[in-house]
Point group: C2
Chain length 198, copies 2
């Protein structure tokens, strides 16, 4: 179930570097794109950075609305995530084309993609020079949500639901799923814990 | 073996969102800190962003030298990575205290941490307002290296060497190892490939 995450814990949703789907909406049109270069910037108030190309339809919608949402797709959504990065929303409703269902966000106009496991609702910060020079968007997170089957007590716990693991883009349509937990052990090494044995 | 990565492929080292060790050096002193908020910013010339707190010793050294290196620790280095994030280099040589051996970088003064599997040598871009307002450093990658046991043909391939998998910080000393490969399949779902079966 999608439950609200306290804002001061929002950065924990993206701490582990997942690939994202960025959604946007303006003038009655909505869009989705894949973005691997989304990163936490601050904890309280939470902020993120996102690299969104100036020639993308998403960027056009974000510049108009000053808002976007970061959605965290799962292993099950790998194909849709790949396709979201390979076609433009200018060619028609990409969300529909990819078979992605959405829900209304709480505070922004951009929709939330169902089947994802984490969501950040974001409002653009007033840093136009960064967008112009680097396609780098800075934004404040104004609401955050997570699937409580895998985000428990402010921590990702994928071990009981491997199909809900997040994706981490490598290259050319290849992702790595988020893997086993590693607890920093007292012997100077990491202690690997396999899914299901925690 | 550590081999040079062509600059246009440097972004692929951090595409999947690994936690990093940031090294720095100035005035004959070197330091290391853990930084989860490091992200690709551009491909050619390659650039990265890194969030480095203004009160850290690393930040002091980076402001002086205008350089730093991003090192990608493995599961074996989980404990050192955790400790690197929990103490300050102002209290003495943190690299020695953590038992981390280093090698000379090719183009920057910051050292490269041995036992890591990827390295980006970085020169600060002239964006002081971002550092002052957000502790956000923008930098150009001037050299890149990877361990050729796990970075093959421009792609991470951890399946033969699970101990060399990268770390992804969740919270409170817990990391996720990079996991199985997921190929975006034609049936609309991701196809999981387990380590060793490729």
């Amino acid at each position: 179930m999608r439950v609200e995450v306290p804002l001061q814990s929002a950065y924990k949703l993206v701490n582990h570097g997942p690939t994202t789907l960025v959604t946007s909406a303006a003038d009655g049109r909505a869009n989705v794109m894949a973005a691997a270069w989304v990163c936490a910037l601050d904890t309280d108030p939470p902020k993120v950075t996102a690299v969104i190309s100036s020639d993308s339809f998403t960027r056009e919608l974000v510049e108009k609305s000053r808002e976007f949402a970061v959605n965290l797709p799962t292993v099950e959504l790998a194909q849709a995530t790949l396709q979201a990065g390979r076609s433009s929303g200018r060619e028609g409703d990409k969300l529909a084309r990819l078979g992605l269902k959405t829900a209304k966000a709480g505070k922004v106009g951009a929709p939330l993609v169902e089947g994802c496991v984490g969501w950040l609702e974001c409002r653009l910060l007033d840093e136009p020079a960064m967008r112009e020079r680097y396609d780098l968007l800075l934004a404040e997170v104004v609401a955050a949500w997570a699937d409580d089957r895998v985000f428990v007590d402010g921590c990702w716990r994928f071990e009981g639901a491997p199909a809900l693991r997040t994706l981490h883009h490598v290259a050319k349509g290849t992702f790595l799923a988020s893997g086993e937990r590693v607890e920093a052990g007292p012997d100077g090494k990491g202690v690997l814990r396999k899914p299901g044995v925690l």
